[in-house]
């Protein structure tokens, strides 16, 4: 056990996989001597640089992610740093292709690729867009979004070992936000949500920073005698349907919290799932808490109004219970 930040845990997971498997390498812009933006690859150059396994690339996102796809097709396990999720638009074709390869090849082609991307509001007022929902409609692609250092460590190791293309989301507000215990011997499987706070009155489904806020809200609500169960998705695609449905079966109420704008948000799939398979368990309407359909604003004051926060999560939960 050791105490690590989200950033340290993520890098530690990559380093451990690089030590365990010579086929793992990292690639991206400014990840070598510079260590990556927000120190996203700090220390890897020093340990693995002279083995040629820490590769700085030109500013060619489509092609260096594409090169990750190609190397993965040949049996390597690349971990490619896209820098910021805003650049996802540049690599959509690569995700579409990579996600299709296993199926289209008749099951012979594996694409063990991890694409890392920083996103979300953070200390820098930039690159905040949360666009991961675009990939919800792409078969064969996985989306992972940890909410804490221990999960960041475990999910990164699982992502590297997975034989499918994975988008690994690293929230900038969580990145350097304090240390937590990380047990390197604990594995965290992809596709499994976790009940981050057990409760009986209402289910709150969230990921990444929204989970952090939902947990704070649950604490406030507990003081009012409201028992909120927080389900942290951890893997956004594919959804852990059983975890969501069994929680709603228990509580009968559902609030989903999204950092992505409401229209087309990945969280809508959680709602659709419950409408389809858990409708009989619901005691009232599902509530969605998400930013309005506008780009993430920059000024701190606007950002605060834009994004779901602890107080608004509490309000939604109370409103859910009022029906």
């Amino acid at each position: 056990m050791s105490r690590m930040t989200f950033q340290q845990a993520t890098v530690a997971a990559i380093a451990d996989e690089m030590r365990a498997d010579r086929d793992v390498f990292v690639m991206g812009e400014d990840i070598g001597r510079f260590g990556g933006p927000l120190r996203s690859n700090a220390g890897l150059w020093e340990e693995f640089g002279d083995q040629g396994r820490v590769l700085d690339t030109p500013i060619s996102e489509s092609t260096f992610v594409g090169a990750g796809v190609g190397a993965a097709m040949c049996g390597k396990r690349p971990v490619v740093d896209l820098m910021f999720l805003e650049f996802l638009a540049l690599v959509m074709q690569q995700f579409l292709d990579a996600g299709a390869m296993h199926y289209y090849s008749g099951g012979t082609q594996r694409v063990p690729l991890v694409v890392r991307a920083k996103f979300g509001i953070g200390p820098f007022h930039g690159h905040a867009y949360d666009h991961h929902s675009w990939l919800m409609n792409m078969p064969g692609v996985k989306i992972v979004a940890p909410s804490n250092p221990a999960d960041a460590y475990g999910l990164m190791r699982a992502s590297i070992r997975d034989d499918n293309p994975v988008l690994f989301l690293e929230h900038m507000a969580l990145y350097h936000a304090g240390k937590a215990e990380v047990d390197r011997s604990v594995s965290v499987p992809l596709g499994k949500a976790v009940v981050a706070n057990a409760g009986s009155d209402v289910t709150v489904v969230s990921s990444a920073l929204m989970t952090r806020r939902a947990l704070a809200a649950a604490k406030t609500l507990a003081a009012e005698g409201i028992s909120a169960e927080v389900v942290d998705l951890r893997t956004i695609s594919p959804l852990d349907e059983d975890a969501i449905l069994s929680s709603v079966r228990k509580t009968g109420r559902l609030v989903v919290v999204s950092e992505a704008v409401k229209r087309g948000a990945s969280m809508n799939d959680v709602v659709a799932l419950v409408a389809e398979q858990g409708f009989g368990d619901l005691k009232g309407p599902v509530r969605r808490l998400a930013p309005p359909n506008i780009p993430t604003p920059s000024a701190r004051e606007l950002e605060r109004i834009y994004l779901p926060d602890e107080a608004r999560i509490c309000d939604e939960v109370r409103a859910s219970l009022a029906v």
Binding site: P58, G66, G70, A71, M73, A100, Y104, S105, G106
Partner: protein
């Protein structure tokens, strides 16, 4: 460079095979992307590589590339017919997506350009594995305008990767003529990027093969990428049943006289390597073989509901 008769014969065979595919598949499927006129480039580029080498072919040449790499003719035919017995199990068209188990990078989502990035990644894997394998990324004059093309070539030079970029310049992209799609010289981009860039007569199979041999040897030595522009001409339509009312028929007629197969036949006959009768016999045998493989695949089972997704969406860890 002197070539063994064996190699010359194999090159002719691949050209003849490519033409036979055109006849058999074109007749069957009006959407087949014909190759008439481009057979020398196809044969010269794809002949004689190592099992570990990776090709990202242009779709016009995908089937020949797969066969050159050892894929089974009947199984590939089954892929053109959407049969269960195909490499993809009826999930994708083998005429645009070759089997990866033979080192083929296909067009998965159908967009041209990105496969050059995948080929660059295959070259990176070969470099990291230090096994002497190489990648070959092929693009048309149309795809040469893609940012992927520029990015891949730039990155391959920067990283000194073992890759050969080949422009299969047939001078037309669907209906857009070369002058409407490409500024300047494609081959000259090599000089701008600091790698060898040459233009060869893409209807002269030996010229293409010579250029490939030099570029491949350079890549295997670890000396980095090369660019070869093969100037050829799409005598065929964009697809077999293309009305081609947008084309200059006189120009097509002129290029038909520059037919690469006729040229290579004349070469082989004049050097007394093979006789006209030998070549006719080879053409007939190849056409029969392709026809029989097609007919055999035609009688293969078509997929049913149980074949839609028996393994689900994702690759699972090997047991």
């Amino acid at each position: 460079m002197t070539r063994s008769n064996q190699v010359l014969q194999e090159l002719y065979h691949l050209m003849s095979l490519t033409r036979a595919l055109d006849k058999v598949l074109g007749e069957h499927d009006g959407h087949w992307h014909g190759l008439e006129g481009e057979e020398a480039t196809i044969a010269g580029v794809y002949h004689g590589h190592r099992p570990g080498d990776v090709f990202a072919p242009h779709y016009r040449g995908m089937v020949s590339a797969a066969l050159a790499k050892g894929a089974d003719l009947r199984t590939v035919m089954a892929g053109c017919l959407g049969r269960n017995t195909s490499y993809s199990k009826g999930r994708h068209r083998s005429d645009i997506c070759g089997p990866p188990e033979f080192g083929l990078i296909g067009l998965y989502a159908g967009s041209l350009g990105p496969p050059l990035g995948y080929a660059t990644g295959a070259a990176l894997a070969a470099k990291l594995n230090a096994n002497g394998d190489i990648a070959i990324g092929v693009f048309g004059d149309g795809s040469s305008s893609r940012g992927d093309c520029h990015e891949s070539m730039n990155m391959a030079v920067v990283m000194n990767l073992p890759i050969v970029f080949v422009c299969q310049n047939n001078q037309i992209a669907i209906s857009t003529e070369l002058s409407g799609g490409v500024a300047g010289s494609i081959a000259a981009r090599g000089a701008a990027l600091g790698m060898p860039g040459i233009k060869v007569d893409g209807n002269d199979v030996i010229a293409v093969k010579d250029a490939m041999d030099r570029a491949v040897a350079r890549a295997r030595r670890g000396d980095g990428p090369s660019l070869i522009e093969c100037e050829t001409y799409r005598v065929a339509g964009h697809f077999h049943s293309d009305a081609e009312d947008y084309r200059d028929q006189d120009e097509i007629a002129r290029w038909r006289k520059n037919d690469p197969i006729a040229r290579f036949r004349a070469y082989l006959i004049s050097r007394e390597i093979l006789s006209g009768d030998d070549l006719d016999a080879m053409d007939a045998a190849v056409l029969t073989e392709v026809g029989q493989a097609f007919d055999a695949a035609l009688s293969d089972p078509v997929p049913d509901r149980s074949d839609l997704a028996p393994d689900g969406e994702y690759a699972r860890a090997p047991a």
